[in-house]
Symmetry: C2
Subunit: 521 residues, 2 copies
Amino acid sequence: MGLQFPEEETPGIDYIIPNVDYLEKKKQNIAAIVLTHGHYDHIGALPHVLARLGNPPIYATSITKAIIEKRADDFPNAPKMNIQLVKNGDEMKLSNNITALFFGVPHTIPETTGVMLKTPIGNIVHFADFRLDYDDEGNPHGLEEFEKLGKMGVHTFMVDSTAAERPGHSVSEKTVEKNLEEIFRAAEGRIAVATFSSLITRIAEIIKIAEKLGRKVALNGYSMKTNIQIAQGLGFVKAKEGTLISVEEINNYKDDKVMILTTGAQGESNAGLMKIINGEHRSIKIKPGDTFVLSSSVIPGNERSVQTVKDNLARQGAVVYHSGLVDIHSSGHAPKGDIGLVIKLLKPKFLMPVHGYYFMRAANGQTARESGVLKDNVRLMDNGQVAELTKDEFKITKEEVPAYYVMVDGLGVGDVEEVVLRDRRALAAEGMLVIILTVDRDKGRLLKNPDIISRGFIYLKDNQEILDEIRKRIRGLMTRIPNFKEVEPDYVKTLLRDQVGQYLYTKTKRRPMILPVVIEI
Amino acid sequence: MGLQFPEEETPGIDYIIPNVDYLEKKKQNIAAIVLTHGHYDHIGALPHVLARLGNPPIYATSITKAIIEKRADDFPNAPKMNIQLVKNGDEMKLSNNITALFFGVPHTIPETTGVMLKTPIGNIVHFADFRLDYDDEGNPHGLEEFEKLGKMGVHTFMVDSTAAERPGHSVSEKTVEKNLEEIFRAAEGRIAVATFSSLITRIAEIIKIAEKLGRKVALNGYSMKTNIQIAQGLGFVKAKEGTLISVEEINNYKDDKVMILTTGAQGESNAGLMKIINGEHRSIKIKPGDTFVLSSSVIPGNERSVQTVKDNLARQGAVVYHSGLVDIHSSGHAPKGDIGLVIKLLKPKFLMPVHGYYFMRAANGQTARESGVLKDNVRLMDNGQVAELTKDEFKITKEEVPAYYVMVDGLGVGDVEEVVLRDRRALAAEGMLVIILTVDRDKGRLLKNPDIISRGFIYLKDNQEILDEIRKRIRGLMTRIPNFKEVEPDYVKTLLRDQVGQYLYTKTKRRPMILPVVIEI
């Protein structure tokens, strides 16, 4: 039900959602949608696919419910959702023969829930996104719950692989909070903390620390404000009266009484932090003595934009802390050590690594084997494969179902196809050149000098010589075409594309997209 | 004299070279070019800028000389270079009053040389790219040399900041070799090692280990072959007769007698490794039991393509080792601990961090202060600033000189300007739509239905409705234009751009580049 953000290979699109062609055909079999938590990579596709899945009931905890309801406001044409509120510990009948047991798992947003599906062939456990939490002595919390699940018997365990390559155990959120508090205490001027607005658990703690240190907290960025509003409404963020102020008010307080919580820790060009850095923010201007804290990891692909953030903050005199220097971020995903611990408690017969690239899932499979799962019982599946589960088997069938990206771009869902992306990539690399020939339909002669427009290739105004040469070659070409009565546009176009393309390549070693148009009068 | 590879913001270009407009005007003052080593980020711009700098003598060690001579083959129009061969320890008179003392620094390519410029105002030391090397007991090599430099007195020390944020000391190349040997010994099938072809020191060691284990070595990838050839010619790679085989020959040997050394560790789409992975290599097909070793770091920006490499190798059954799992790569750049050690030996009066983003250079400045440089004597300069050095001062002037990227794209140097890149980025994000109106010059009426072509926007063949609507609107527009005698093309174009743009945005929430063309007959 989640969305995936665009990659280098999918320029310009907003996001990618799952392909539900296969499920749509079987929608009468869909008893329920179970949401584990409210992060967009787990709920973002909901309004796009819900109707196609027959609008089944959705099971979700309270904060997840609030987040999907908020998102539904932007999709007035999506069907009204039928949400069944659950809390961890609940057991719910999803269909005649499937019951769901919900249980809490630690993650970075409250009320994340794992689920055990009790089915006639056995219990299937999905652990959502999770990590382990540790107390001050370094002992993990809540393992008894997982042990209980193990005792019920687990047919298949589906386990988060996002951090499966990382050795060791989770950095405790306690450590993160302790380090943040130290940095905050040392700051003499204003403090700005940039983090994901979805890390509600941490944001709640940061607000608590700010109160302890006598700082007001201003929220900056749309998603920061809406997420905190939702979390406050449900009691997950407990700010005292007067703690939260608007960004406009920060100048009413001394610098050492102010903290700003902002979006944009990944260097996103339109997020709150970038506006501050670029001097475009109406109320917040960086000044020497400000302390900026990037309490987040760097999502692969964002390295350069985060580098720009750090550079520009430092250039403007701010003191910058980031998680590469000190533990001020802990991933929401369990590393190898935590995963091994949980597998040993659940003792599943089959293990299916989910979430994360193939290599990470393969690493998770290896952890499973080291933690007691039989070598042959690790199931590495790829998108589009189908498995059949029976009492004693987990069989990957030969069936293949459509699983290719469905791209959302503006209002279009799925209308940006590979051919459009290929053009975008080509245009980005080499630009294009449109050549318009206006010809006499009967005599095939040029009625005027060819019109040429170009973008992203070379700046034509500075390259009159190339323009003249192209026009000269086209005129030459047209006179050399054997005397014919009628223009054959396709023939002329191919000729133009080849000859002009060849000339430009020789001249510039570049291959712009050449788009010939023949206007017959 | 180096080149920089393109970034996300500079799509389609080949590479970026320095702007020498300022130096060109002062070329009569340029006494020499000193090259510290043969990596492209230090020598790649040479053929492009040499003539503009007045072709001064170039000082270089033997392998650097061989590499720039090889590169010069591709630039027949560049001036013939005047290369002065130096070896570490040499002292050379560059001009009337400037002498250069060359000294070896450890890096990943042989004969990397630092330089001390002895000038009337004092000694300026540039340390090239460097790290420290350690013996088996963990003691750094060659510090006496640096201590000697310090004793001569150092006015300004220019120091590599690439790894300045990393705490601690360099991973010893000995450790890397030990780990590689262990992995190689454990491999039962073929071994393929992907690394930068410029890491000649490591490649030389890998070939030695291969010989020890009785494996033949096949080189894959153009730059791997040419670099090893150069290094062999100069004695830096000493392969026994018969060790090196061609990739075509690998199938003549048992799997456990073969090692492949390949380019493409960054997942570059046209490099050797990618051809193997995609099944496009004529001689090398992956089979289960192959061991692939990625002995390199991941250059920021390449995270996703390296992930693809790991995924696809694992999918095809290869065992994969990478430097995230075990120390099989050591950076050529000194981390904080090493830098501090060297600063303490050199005792410079002024310190100027070079190489690396601003944040890294600022971190290096901090290291300098912690290592005894006076707080006020750290000089953080940005591209385009000018400093004036006197006996007692290092003054950053107010002068600003052109320093913006010069982009090389095909045969063009500097002709891809910001306007072209802006168009490329826009085309990549939203695509474009060309609208061609053929109008009667006198009556201003449309002579035919408007022609529309589009790329990278939506696939028009699947969206006939939108096409029809655009045409309908254009016709409506033209009839509503107050009756005029002559067409005013600019007015019509602006109208079209606005109205069609607005319609498309409402319909699709996308803003393709709209290029109206008015053909008057």
